[in-house]
């Protein structure tokens, strides 16, 4: 039987980032198991956004640290990941929202995030095409941004494969063997691997994987749809948010964006015309010049949502079975910091950010939920 120091289940941002930080800290004998191709789950389906404008200490601190790592990746990975700090321009529609976001901004500032409330005039300076008829201002953070999911996947794959990590795609985990309350080996449809640690970074499949070791995860999959336009000359730097709508322009010139359909949980990732209509309504009223721009393609992915809309990261009841799932729509942006935290948990026995320790599975048993109010798309 082949032996690995760490087996990571899931070849998305979580698995690749964890392998990256393990490799960087000298743990070379790592295996990533992916049932499809790399990035085939929520990572490759995401809306590219990376923001620090959250409402809880846990999210804000983790994202502040994640943005530092995104910068580091942009500067150090051999292949481009197109991380761009074009900012998040969060349009506010009435006095009530303005008041609420003033409080959020104050809290973000206390934790070192450079967000601020700006006027309609300043909105026009940042993005002249935005219609400010029904806005009263915006919450603006210039260090938020975007990165390109498949370039990130490729760049991390390139790094980890040269630093000892084995990646097996189209190989599905079917079971996990326990011995004396710890994981001994992982069984796939092709082989069996003994291991010191297992990381559950299986995204939409995380619940099923946890069930293999009799751990119940309070997560549910929600379908979220997204679309991309034909390529245009570059004109839009920030991510624009308004209510349930978000959109930006990629480095390939396409407008990418989505909106929330407020659906019940489902494992379906089929697409619907309803989405395109709601999205068209919202985006053309927010930026009227886009009404002549053509939609090229739509698709869907899942938000894997916890009751308090924060991820579950770190230890479980089984000492060497580690969790990183339930990101509630923020897995791509949190990927770098979560990978670094998990590597530190595996190597040092603890996660180096206090806030991360509030995000372990046991918070649900202890009733220590942390509610995030700012979830979009």
């Amino acid at each position: 039987m082949k032996n690995f120091d760490v087996v990571v289940i899931g070849g998305g941002i979580t698995g690749l980032s964890t392998a990256y930080f393990l490799n960087r800290r000298g743990i070379k004998n790592v295996l990533i198991l992916e049932k499809g191709y790399l990035g085939s789950g929520s990572t490759g389906r995401c809306g590219t956004g990376i923001r620090q404008q959250f409402t809880t200490k846990e999210h804000i601190v983790l994202m502040r640290e994640s943005v530092n790592l995104w910068e580091e990746w942009e500067n150090s990975l051999e292949q481009p990941i197109h991380f761009k700090q074009g900012g998040y321009l969060w349009l506010l529609r009435n006095e009530e929202e303005l008041k609420q976001y003033k409080d959020y901004v104050r809290f973000q500032n206390l934790l070192g995030v450079p967000s601020r409330i700006i006027s309609n005039e300043e909105i026009k300076e940042i993005a002249p095409e935005v219609n400010t008829v029904d806005t009263v201002g915006a919450s603006w953070c210039p260090t938020d941004g975007t990165a390109y999911p498949f370039e990130v996947v490729d760049a991390l794959k390139f790094y980890v494969e040269r630093n000892g990590t084995a990646i097996k795609t189209f190989e599905e985990v079917k079971g996990i063997n326990l011995k004396n309350d710890s994981v001994e080996s992982v069984i796939t449809d092709k082989d069996v691997y003994s291991t010191g640690f297992v990381v559950n970074g299986a995204g939409t499949g995380a619940k099923k994987v946890a069930q293999m070791v009799h751990i119940g995860l309070p997560i549910e999959n929600y379908r979220h749809q997204i679309m991309v336009s034909e390529p245009l000359e570059t004109f839009l730097d920030p991510m624009i948010v308004k209510g349930e709508l978000y959109f930006t322009q990629t480095h390939r010139g396409r407008i990418i964006g989505g909106t929330d359909m407020n659906e019940s949980p489902t494992d379906s990732i089929a697409t619907s015309i309803d989405f395109l209509e709601k999205f068209a309504d919202e985006i053309t009223s927010t930026m009227p010049i886009l009404s002549s721009v053509k939609i090229m393609r739509q698709w869907a992915g899942s938000y894997v949502v916890t009751p308090d809309r924060h991820p579950i990261i770190g230890p479980s009841e089984i000492s060497n079975f580690i969790l990183a799932c339930g990101y509630s729509g923020h897995g791509f942006m949190l990927g770098p910091i979560v990978g670094k935290l998990l590597a530190s948990y595996i190597i040092d026995g603890q996660m180096f950010l206090t806030e991360a320790n509030n995000l372990t599975l046991k918070r649900f048993k202890e009733g220590k939920l942390i509610h995030e109010k700012a979830v979009i798309g």
């Binding site: 990035g39 336009s229 053309t284």
Partner: protein
């Protein structure tokens, strides 16, 4: 790049050489090849290049035929303005 490259995907400027190179670098299935090279992701939605890619990949994989990539709506690009429902709710 070769002097006379054989263009397979006209929207995204992907050549036969690019495909062979990507295959060598481990992008062996059609979905990961598409995401790596962006082949078939332009305005024509792969109508010309994906069938050609299927044939090339089948050859490289030593198979008779392989499935196409998943298709995503709309069939042809549609202006956002044409989808607006307006205010009635």
């Amino acid at each position: 790049m070769k002097e006379n490259p054989i263009i397979i995907c006209r929207c995204e400027d992907v050549t036969l050489e690019d495909i062979e190179e990507a295959f060598k670098n481990g992008f062996k299935d059609i979905e990961s090849m598409r995401r790596h090279l962006k082949i078939g992701t332009g305005p024509c939605q792969g109508k010309t290049c994906i069938p050609i890619l299927q044939k090339i990949l089948a050859g490289l994989q030593g198979k008779k035929q392989i499935d196409a990539t998943s298709t995503r709506p709309p069939e042809s690009p549609v202006p956002l303005g044409a989808l607006v429902r307006g205010k009635k709710k």
